[in-house]
Amino acid sequence: MTEQAYNFAYLDEQTKRMIRRAILKGVAVPGYQVPFASREMPMPYGWGTGGVQVTAACLTPGDRLKVIDQGADDTTNAVSIRSFFSRTAGVAVTEATAEATLIQTRHRIPEHPLTEDQILVYQVPIPEPLRFLEPREPETRKMHSLEEYGLMHVKLYEDIARHGAIATSYDYPVKVEGRYVMDPSPIPKFDNPKLSGCPALQLFGAGREQRIYALPPYTRVDSLDFDDHPFDPSKADHDCDLCGAGDSYLDEVIIDDAGGRMFVCSDTDFCRSRRAAGHAGRLGTPAGEAA
């Protein structure tokens, strides 16, 4: 049931038009951050207000919405955002990646390959990839306009000189179609290859920082690297202890006081559907056999 006191998907029509115009310009200039007049939402800045506004501007009554945080549908903030949209937009919700038409995410790209019929909306805390190198907005804006990304390469190269490797493991900067350096949001670098050539439309919303950007389907996205230090999308060298997957991103869970730990898929839907299909890991049983 929708809450009658508010408009469809909460935002008023004028606000949605403003956001929709920004999204279209973002799509037209892939990787460029479009300023938009982010509104105050009934949830705190930093908790997904950018993603929520983009989702609100894109939703139609026929959508099936999935919301994940850290890959999981049942983390509290994902639960909270999902219930916000079922209340204000009355849309159907799902936890199954394959059934969703619009997925809002924080910090992960689902393991199940996305399709042309889907939109992936990222929540972004700091959209400016150069921000930690140069705190001033007019300066970073100028750097993007001049395609002046030397500072970023210097930073990455200093990492290599000091540590022998690039010491960035998430929020790993990318270049879009050879032009704009873009912040992929704090996804682990393991997810970076999924950004490129993705059949789904990918939209990024940063509410507090008032920016929207986009990757149209099949856009080429390269993680920054060097010829002698190619990009390495590594992950924990384990299989999932529940479903046995060897190719999914894993959460490390501490299970006792003696340092015991296990590794489980961060993507809860992926793990569940593998177990439903009969796969089992070191500590898990196929779903059908669970008590």
């Binding site: 029509e13 038009r17 115009r21 300023p35 389907p217």
Partner: protein
């Protein structure tokens, strides 16, 4: 004052704006994100000569903050009244337009339209080009949003090549015909045949 608040001026808007504009935007978004793929949109019934698709795009995207340029035949009393009544968008010359609508030949010369600035390439006009035919054949398109190659009837391939050469500056276009719409962002390359 305006000639008259006729039924034509007052009618033809969305009956259920939140839902109709959501559906129309989603189609417009799909069109812009997948150049060459034709979408069907509707909801608005604008006065002649505007197409349903062009009228629906304007109701979905334009408002008092977005100056609109009406080109050629589109610059008529009926449409002026309709757009003003339904969107409150100021009607302006080409140079000041956020949206411009009309037939291709009426939109020329294109150099009049904003193409953004190096620091704000988003501050560029969106052209809504009314087409006599719109089909997924003709010019070959490539670039973001296109898996391999796409085809689309273009009014003037060279003009879009020149526009793409300005990237990341440039205008973006919707091509409309009846209730059909296709998107052609500045990022699209029009290949030589």
């Amino acid at each position: 004052m305006a000639s008259a608040l006729t039924a034509e001026t007052l009618g033809g808007g969305f009956d259920d704006a939140p839902i109709q504009s959501a559906r129309a935007f989603r189609a417009a978004l799909d069109a812009m994100a997948r150049p060459g793929r034709i979408q069907v949109i509707g909801g608005a019934v604008p006065p002649a000569p505007l197409s349903v698709a062009a009228g629906t795009l304007l109701l979905t995207l334009a408002d008092g903050t977005t100056p609109v340029h009406l080109a050629g035949d589109a610059d008529c009393d009926a449409l002026r009244g309709w757009i003003t009544f339904h969107t409150a968008a100021p009607l302006v010359p080409a140079e000041a337009a956020v949206f411009a609508v009309g037939r291709w030949t009426d939109l020329l010369p294109l150099a009049r339209f904003a193409t953004g600035t190096p620091e704000y390439p988003d501050r560029a006009a969106t052209l809504i080009v009314e087409m006599p035919v719109l089909e997924a054949k003709g010019s070959v398109l490539a670039g973001p949003g296109i898996r391999d190659r796409a085809r689309l009837t273009l009014p003037d391939p060279d003009a879009f090549r020149a526009n793409h050469a300005l990237f990341p500056l440039g205008f973006d276009a919707f091509l409309t015909c009846g209730s059909r719409v296709a998107g052609l962002p500045r990022s699209t390359r029009v290949e030589d045949v």
